[in-house]
Homo-oligomer: 120 residues x 2
């Protein structure tokens, strides 16, 4: 039987940035927690939308023609296939929701490409 | 282009209980906000898991053999096909994540069956 998942306790289990940790699965979708600060890399996910729910701090999502600021208590759906780059001046904590198997750097590979499907 | 979705502002747009409102879509999944108090009806969703993220207050989820308490900042995955009944002594505010088309009372129908796919 599934357990109740406390987000704060799960966030306390890791400190590294740009390395999403899986906390739950719903059908073939995963819920992941991530901490980050600084600039990520430009990338896209050709096959899926991706949702960020910011839980602490704020993030910027840069698109080719637009800059979006998502603060704690706010949610944003990044449309499939759209090139974007995430940033945070101060550490930001967020929950990501996306299909199982999605890699953080999407179709790109870089030193920020995280090991996928790491559960905490 | 998608908008940033502020959960608190969306919750302020409705007051009725047991009537999930859609705030976002990711692929064929929907994010819904719901307020509730009192007892729901026993039901199950034969074809899908269902996620509750409690944002304010606390909810009880009763299963045939177990009672689960989910508090603010906690998430729970209700497995597909499992009969359950949700309750809240005081008003609880939660986000539901599930595939588009899922009805709140699942395979059952009752006076608590809400109109589906209502966006706010």
């Amino acid at each position: 039987m599934n357990s109740v998942i406390n987000l704060e306790k799960k966030f306390a289990k890791f400190s590294e940035h740009w390395s999403p940790k899986v906390i739950a699965e719903m059908n073939d979708y995963q819920f992941k927690l991530v901490k980050f600060q600084g600039d990520f890399v430009w990338h896209s996910h050709p096959d899926t939308d991706e949702v960020f729910l910011v839980l602490e701090g704020e993030m910027k999502i840069e698109f080719q023609d637009r800059l979006v600021i998502v603060k704690a208590g706010e949610l944003f759906v990044i449309p499939r296939g759209l090139e974007h780059c995430t940033r945070a001046a101060e550490e930001c904590q967020a929950m990501l929701i996306e299909p199982r198997g999605v890699v953080n750097t999407g179709a790109s590979t870089s030193e920020l490409t995280a090991t996928n499907d790491v559960w905490i």
